[in-house]
Symmetry: C2
């Protein structure tokens, strides 16, 4: 196996990513495309095939298995996504594993992208050696994955770990998940961009205001908000800080239910670092009683935006070898 | 083993309970005492010893192990409670397993009472055969336990499954756990009694109003509210219904995180039945999107108030035999 590779594919709301990875977790090639999810599932799948083709053609060693990370409620047995919110129309119930497996003649495993990210961080990242560990991914959406007693928590139907849909305000705005005030509405990239845009339109000063007026149709991205905050923009910092507080409230819920030792925060928004995480840490201690002995550590994930695709490659190894990487066997 | 017994003890905020149980899960003797927790941990432990003595003396077959269910964050390895809220002063860090083991010369295991209840319901009650299952116990406090992938979820420090401390209103009143608006503040027995007392004092009519005026010092119990609701008292029904809505909001959080197939509701308040559970079910469907395929069933627990002590007896078997009952081995 040591001279073979696995292919990991990540279907994100914004981009498709792929990596070739060795058994030791070294990435030897990577590539990406825009998702353009609204063009429909067949178009997305064709772009994914094209991306995979290019990576496979570049491989100088044999590729033995494929793992796919995708948003939504993933049915591992059937190899389909059972439910996904609107950014990927037609993606639900598409026989993804079967189609990819036929196209490339290889074993394929599929997993929710947040759980794939948690797998990557638990196996190769900041969560190594943690028996009870959570990864939260703040990107176009907010996802996550839970490791409980060294195992990825999938739940009964593959719906475990939908951490972006923990409500931090039962009276908050409605979410596509049916709940109100979900974390995703406050801490995703689009949510940050929305918040600061509204504040600027209300007359608050920010270095980002010119971006909005120069190019109002395109809108801001979450990354721009993070960059502005890191460059000292006070309004962007306040927006990030508010997202960090909401993140903290969601983590308080998780800690009562799961008692993890560490929470890793990844995804593009996590590059805000302590501007985001310190307010979350502050909420955790404010919402715990004096002497509470089990407050988890909140850290930045190792892999940032790449966690899901690296987790997907780990699943590619699992698909090929039938070993149960997720449960800690070598 | 078939002619031996295990002793289960449950240290509740209101009462101490004990059972002798066969390997088949049959209860052959039971007894109870008031806890009087505010008299201090030594007094509570003495009453527990007395209760255990009486049950052991009544046993006509050998007793081989003892399980103890207790509120709080339980450290299995050290056999202590690491943290418990105020109803049991002095209980934290008391070497409970060592003291009980010395007193009776038997192997002893300790577990959080909510997790013990979940163990009982999963092994012998409504949760049999469910891989992903939650028990919520509504009593003097609100506790619970989670079964994820057939294992009791303990978390890193024994703090997993503190389901009464899921917040259903981040702006709600402060809780002893440090959080705000916890489920326990709305759905415990004392919370129900408080709600209806306030409403009656505000002039709302109820069959319970005379109880308050005849004996204002004693106050109402949650059970009285449940009984009144079942007898048709509209105000008591409204109070139970509101608790059911809050229960539903907490379950929505749990389902996003854990994706269980079934939620069993036990404890004294669960005798309200559908008066409590229908509003919770209604919240689950209202807070799910159309076509959401993974809404868990909400049912009454089999063992009601006895789940924790039955779970404790199962742990007594585990203490004696070293078999890992919790993980499904016979």
């Amino acid at each position: 196996l040591s001279n073979q590779l696995a292919l990991g594919l990540d279907v994100g709301g914004t981009k498709l990513a792929g990596v070739l990875m060795t058994a030791e977790g070294e990435i030897v090639a990577k590539d990406a495309r825009h998702t353009h999810g609204l063009e429909g599932s067949r178009a997305v799948l064709n772009r994914l095939f094209e991306l995979a083709d290019k990576l496979l053609a570049s491989a100088i060693e044999p590729v033995c298995g494929i793992g796919v990370a995708t948003p939504g409620i993933v049915d591992l047995q059937q190899g389909i996504v059972r439910f996904v919110s609107t950014e990927l129309p037609g993606w639900s119930n598409l026989p993804i594993v079967e189609l990819i497996s036929k196209e490339f003649g290889m074993s394929v495993l599929i997993e929710n992208d947040g759980r794939a990210a948690a797998l990557a961080e638990h196996r190769l990242g900041v969560g190594r050696g943690c028996r009870n560990f959570i990864t939260i991914v703040l990107g176009t959406g907010v996802g996550g994955g839970i490791v409980a007693n060294n195992e990825i928590l999938r739940g009964e139907h593959g719906g475990g770990g939908r951490l972006g849909h923990i409500s931090v305000d039962p009276d908050g705005p409605p979410c596509t998940c049916g709940n109100r005030g979900c974390l995703e509405l406050y801490a995703s990239g689009p949510a940050l961009a929305n918040s600061i845009t509204t504040a600027i339109q209300d007359g608050k000063p920010s270095t980002l205001s010119k971006e909005i007026y120069i190019n109002p149709a395109q809108g801001l991205s979450g990354r721009q908000v993070v960059e502005a905050a890191k460059s000292g923009d006070a309004l962007a910092q306040a927006v990030i800080s508010d997202a960090g507080c909401k993140l903290g409230l969601a983590i308080v819920q998780m800690m009562r239910i799961l008692d993890p030792i560490m929470i890793a925060v990844g995804g593009s928004i996590s590059s805000a670092g302590d501007l985001l995480l310190d307010p979350a840490r502050e909420i955790l201690s404010r919402y715990s009683p004096p002497g509470y002995p089990i407050i988890p550590e909140i850290v930045r994930a190792k892999f940032g935006r790449d966690a899901s695709v690296i987790g997907a490659a780990l699943l590619g190894w699992e698909a090929a070898n039938g070993t149960n990487l997720k449960r800690g066997n070598p």
